[in-house]
Subunit: 210 residues, 2 copies
Amino acid sequence: MREKLEKYYSFVFEKELIDEIVQVGVYKKLRENEILVDLGDKMKGIPLLLEGAIKIVREDKNGEEILLYFLERGDTCASSFASAISNGKCGIRATAEKESEIIFLPKEKLDEWMLKYKSWRNFVIESYNIRLNEMMETIDSLAFMNMSERLYKYLTDKAQIMRETSLNTTHQDIAYDMHTSRVVISRLLKQLENEGKIKLHRNKIEILEF
Amino acid sequence: MREKLEKYYSFVFEKELIDEIVQVGVYKKLRENEILVDLGDKMKGIPLLLEGAIKIVREDKNGEEILLYFLERGDTCASSFASAISNGKCGIRATAEKESEIIFLPKEKLDEWMLKYKSWRNFVIESYNIRLNEMMETIDSLAFMNMSERLYKYLTDKAQIMRETSLNTTHQDIAYDMHTSRVVISRLLKQLENEGKIKLHRNKIEILEF
DNA sequence: ATTATTTTGTGATTTACATCACTTAATTTA
DNA sequence: TAAATTAAGTGATGTAAATCACAAAATAAT
C-alpha cells in the first residue's frame, strides 16, 4: 500500500501526510463490477484510487442510467467528499470497471488535514475542479454532440482510462452507459467500423484511430 | 454592504470573517445583462452574491450555448474559485439576469481563510457540493427529460431564482438557454398554455402552476 | 452433439425535434 | 401616422434516434 501510495501521490502529498494516510487509511481491493458507492449511501469517508478504473453513473427514478465520468488512479470521488463532510447522501453509483485498489480515508480526518496540510487543501480543491470540468464535458456531449460523436468519445475516453486499445464490452452495456438503445449503438458502431475507426468483434471493440 | 453581508451571511460566517470580508472585499453593482465572468477569463478572486440572480452558461466552439444553472444571493461561483486558486481559465460565462450586487473577494485571501475559519472551509466545500448537484440536475434534464419537461422546469426554476411569478423574456432567449430553436419553444409554450400551466404575453410568461 | 442463451445484425415504422418558409401581431422609430 | 423592427404563430418537410420485430451468429449449458 505504501509503495503505490508513494508512486502516485508523492508528488501530490507531503511526506507527513502520506505517513498519516498509511496509518489511518484502509486498503481495499475491488473486484471487477463491484459496487463501491451506491445511490443514497451515506459516506463514512472517501476513497483514494491507487489502481484500476471506476465508473461513476447517475440514475433517475425509473432506474435509467447515464454515465457521468470515469476515475483513474490518483483520483478521488468528489461526490463522496461532499457526502462525507456534510453527512448527506450520495447521488451517484460508483462501480469498478476492472479490478481496482483503493485506500479508504475516514471522514474525521478530512477536515483536520485541511488545516494541517496545504497539499491536502490543494488536492481537495483540485479534485472538485477536475470533477466540475468532467461534468461540464458531459453536459457538452449531451447538449452539443450527436450520438455518433458521443459514442466515439465514449470509446476513446474509456480506452484511455482502461489503458487498453480494445474494450471488452457488449453493445448493450454501452447503450446503458449512454442512455440509449442497443439497436442504435449497434448501428452506429457498424458505421464507425465502416469509417475505419474501429473494428468489431463479439464482446470486444478494437479502437484503430484515436 | 456590511448590512446585506450580515443579513445573508451571518449564519454562515464567523463574525471575524465578516469583518475581514468587509475590509478586503470590493463591492460591485451589476446592471441587468452585465457580464461578470466570460469564457477564458482568469479570475483574480471570487464573487459573493449579495442580491440578484446570475446565469451561468457553457458555450461550445461554434458559439452555441447551454444553461448550466443560476446563482442567487448567498451563492458563490465555484467555477471561479477553481480558476482563481489554480490560476486557470474559467470555462463558463456568468451574466446578471437582473440588477445584482456582489462582493469580490481577492484570491490571496481564499487559501488563508481556509486555515483561519472553519466556516469558510465549510462554505467552500458546501458551494462545490451545491454546484456539483446542480450540474447533475442539468445532466438529468438533458439525459432523461423531453423538451416540454425541460422547458417547464426551466420556467419554474427561473421564476424561483428571480423571485417572480412572471418572467420577462422572449421565446428566442429561452431557446438560446436551452440550446434549441425558437419555433420549438413557441410550440411547446403554447402547449403548456393549453394545459393551463402558464399564460403567454408578449415578452412575458406568467406561471400559473408550480 | 443438441439445445438454450447471449450477442449482434437489419428491415420497417414511429416520434420528437430541427429546419424552412411565411404570416400575423405588437412595438418602436422615423 | 406610416414604415421598420421585433416577437410570436403555424403549416410543411426533413432527420436523428427510438421502438418493434425478427433473424443470424457465437458461445455456453445440458
